[in-house]
């Protein structure tokens, strides 16, 4: 570790001045209602809760807590809008609404980026450059499909499913809303969307945007609330389709709940992505790719490359360079434009990360954590790398969903494939090698929905995303993403 400390003090000479984005750009209101039938309304119970800035612990705004009566109202509004308006709206008209929404997201992008960073804790660089532009791009992409559904490969006249209930997680709040709403609306469905309990705010800004776009009332309804709200939506008999992104644990509950009903279901769940590094990989790009694969969005990424599988011949060098690179990550104020790693989203998530990291140490893995200074308020965890991890360790098997990387080694391509597939998950993997034929050989054998070669964590509206095995089923994005919302 001596070398690391040398590296740190050397870099200290080149420290950055703070470059914070202004929180006032968010223009948050004190309180937000539920978005039902085109208007913001109180919850029937008048209950509400605060959404907290995880970087400071301060309350940002109050949002309504939706309960069963509110779910009833929202589903009824969605059904009415489907029957009377949306199912009679031509594809070309639906396209124009979606183009409007895309344009409005672009126009309010700065505000949305700040809201996302305040509510989620992610670095402004990511919300500004990734979350918000990708959300707009998703609406653009699916806008183009709305009047071309007969070309999508699902038959001559594919019909929508009806009313979709959509439940999204807290790690990419606006982007997940876009992933859910854009294909559903393009295909002609109406929606009831439930954002995550800890990150409801950007979805409420999106509700304002839907009003600005003059989307007909009831086509999209947005219900803030907790797990009980989601459960009421899942069980509602007026819902034709459930789309859920979140943990495998909750996904399993939802699948059980809808079993025996005619409801359609897609699940995008957890992962324990293997990032496989062969000894011929270009090492500088590969180190950056590994770092991005696990520390992007504080590791709150279902497809994170949280298991690094390194070929033994280069394991020492890779580890040495990784530890040095981790030390250089800038951890702190998410609104600072130079920040690499922001806040952990909630106390509960921090507790989970802390517990699993303790298990890693107890089970004998070697821990390297950044010596960065963590802010005193809010929820924080120093970027961490574990070496000497074996496949049986909890930190190699369980999804940590935090800035923690487990490093394992392998000798041959066969062993790499076997270790990568030694998991119940199957969302994403990475392969790093200059040898294309071997990359494809490995990719063919990996049981994962997405495989990145010499890159990681790439997302695009045209590219299908989703898992196999306990990472869920169904695809979002691309031509394939339409299928979940078509009666085909």
């Amino acid at each position: 570790m001596t070398e690391n400390h040398l590296a740190t003090s050397h870099l200290g000479a080149f420290d950055y001045d703070p470059a914070p984005e202004s929180a006032s750009i968010a223009r948050l209101r004190d309180a937000y209602g539920l978005f039902i039938d085109g208007d913001f309304t109180d919850a029937a119970s008048h209950a509400s809760f605060a959404s907290v800035n995880p970087a400071t612990g301060a309350d940002l705004a109050n949002v309504a807590q939706a309960n069963s009566p509110d779910v009833d109202r929202a589903v009824a509004a969605a059904r009415h809008a489907y029957d009377t308006v949306w199912s009679k709206t031509t594809g070309a008209q639906r396209a124009k609404y979606l183009f409007r929404i895309a344009r409005l997201i672009q126009e309010r992008s700065r505000e949305l980026a700040v809201v996302e960073t305040l509510d989620n804790g992610k670095p402004i660089r990511e919300s500004r450059d990734i979350d918000v532009p990708l959300a707009a791009a998703h609406f653009f992409y699916y806008a183009g499909w709305a009047d071309k559904l007969e070309h999508a490969g699902y038959g001559a006249n594919p019909r929508p499913v009806g009313v979709a209930g959509q439940i999204i997680p807290w790690n990419f709040p606006l982007l997940m809303a876009a992933w859910k709403l854009a294909p559903a609306l393009a295909a002609g469905n109406t929606c009831v969307l439930k954002p995550a309990e800890t990150t409801p705010l950007s979805a409420l800004i999106l509700a304002e945007i839907l009003q600005q776009a003059e989307l007909p009332a009831g086509v999209v309804n947005i219900l803030t609330g907790d797990g009980a709200t989601g459960a009421a939506l899942v069980e509602h008999p007026g819902v034709d389709k459930i789309a859920f992104t979140g943990s495998t644990e909750v996904g399993r509950l939802i699948q059980r709940r809808v079993a025996g009903s005619a409801k359609r279901l897609t699940l995008e769940l957890g992962g324990k992505g293997a990032n496989i590094v062969f000894d011929d990989a270009p090492i500088d790009e590969m180190i950056e790719g590994i770092i991005d694969g696990i520390f992007f969005n504080q590791g709150h990424v279902c497809c994170a490359g949280s298991r690094l599988l390194v070929q033994e011949t280069i394991a020492d060098e890779v580890l040495r360079r990784l530890v040095r690179r981790v030390e250089q990550l800038r951890v702190g104020d998410p609104l600072d434009k130079n920040t690499d790693v922001g806040a952990i989203n909630s106390a509960a998530q921090l507790a989970k990360i802390t517990e699993l990291v303790a298990a890693g140490e107890a089970e004998g893995a070697t821990r390297y954590s950044s010596s960065c200074e963590l802010p005193s308020a809010g929820y924080w965890f120093a970027p961490t790398v574990f070496a000497n991890v074996s496949s049986s360790h909890r930190i190699a098997r369980e999804e940590i969903f935090g800035p923690v990387l487990s490093v394992l080694t392998f000798r041959t391509p066969d062993e790499a494939v076997a270790k990568a597939n030694d998991t119940n998950y199957g969302l994403a993997c990475g392969v790093w090698s200059e040898k294309g034929s071997r990359t494809l050989w490995v990719a063919e054998r990996l049981r994962a929905g997405v495989i990145w070669a010499n890159t990681y964590n790439r997302f695009d509206p045209t590219s299908p995303f989703g898992g196999v095995r306990e990472s869920g089923f169904g695809r979002e994005g691309g031509r394939h993403g339409l299928e979940a919302y078509l009666d085909v």
Partner: protein
């Protein structure tokens, strides 16, 4: 009190992103459907066509290697620009085609919607026309649609806006650069769209618009060695002769059709697309 004199506009060609008079210095009178004077319009020459082809060739690679998303944004921007000038376009369509105001408005609206339709195609063509091929061997084999290159379009003589939009936007959407000869007698709606392209982030040279006598412009487009595709929609009586001239450099030729410029078919999109197939070995 003297009445204000209106400022009359000279309609120029669009070549390599610039608004130019014909290098020949010629212009011609365009009359409305009732036979009254409507506008003076540049009368493009063979040399103008050759200049436009050169500009299109230079611009095509950049247009194609821009992301499909970016091309879609540019085409959508064109729709936004056209939407803002709907009134003007409708006046020109009404004058050119001799239709009533309501019909002209409807035609322009359909044309703008058609631009939006093509804007949505840019990043979907590969997913509809391309795909992986399960060859019997250890290979990853996939086919991608790629643009033909430079496409010459003889825009329809009758449908001055809708037809112009459909024939021009289809090759643009898939990544071609276009040299279009407008309708000879109804050129102004197409020239206006050319003007709008200059404020829609089109790289210079991607869309070149030339008005003039079809019998002068068409043979040059049809026989030019550096034109890869030819749409004969507005070719008229010389149609088959032009098609034969295109054979010299094995151009892709789209023959004149039935004049449906709002078809849901991808036929026009597929007219100027090549299939590029890549084989990659798979092995440890």
């Amino acid at each position: 009190m003297s009445e204000r004199l209106d400022v009359r506009k000279t309609y120029k060609l669009v070549i390599n992103g610039a608004f130019v008079r014909s290098e020949s210095g010629r212009s011609y009178e365009v009359r409305n459907a009732a036979g009254e004077f409507w506008a003076n319009v540049a009368q493009g020459s063979r040399k103008d066509v050759r200049d436009a082809v050169k500009a299109a060739r230079a611009a095509q690679a950049g247009w194609w290697t821009a992301t499909a998303y970016n091309r879609g944004q540019v085409l959508f921007r064109l729709a936004e620009m056209a939407e803002a000038r709907r009134e003007e376009l409708s006046q020109h369509v009404a004058a050119a085609e001799g239709v009533g105001g309501a019909d002209a408005h409807a035609s322009v609206a359909r044309g703008i919607d058609r631009i939006v339709w093509y804007a949505g195609w840019t990043d979907k063509v590969a997913q509809v026309l391309g795909g992986a091929n399960p060859v019997a061997g250890p290979f990853f084999n996939f086919s991608l649609p790629v643009p033909s290159g430079v496409v010459g379009v003889l825009a329809p003589q009758d449908s001055s806006f809708e037809g112009f939009v459909d024939t021009v936007l289809a090759p643009l959407a898939v990544g071609n650069a276009v040299v279009v000869a407008t309708s000879e007698t109804r050129p102004t709606p197409g020239l206006l769209l050319g003007e709008m392209s200059a404020t829609s982030d089109f790289p210079a040279g991607v869309l070149n618009v030339i008005s003039g006598l079809t019998r002068e412009l068409a043979p040059t487009l049809a026989s030019h060695e550096d034109v890869d595709g030819l749409d004969l929609e507005g070719a008229g009586d010389d149609h088959d002769e032009l098609a034969a001239a295109a054979a010299a450099s094995i151009k892709r030729v789209r023959r004149a059709g039935a004049g449906d410029y709002a078809a849901s078919s991808t036929s026009r999109l597929r007219s100027f697309v090549e299939t590029s197939t890549v084989w990659h070995t798979i092995g440890r």
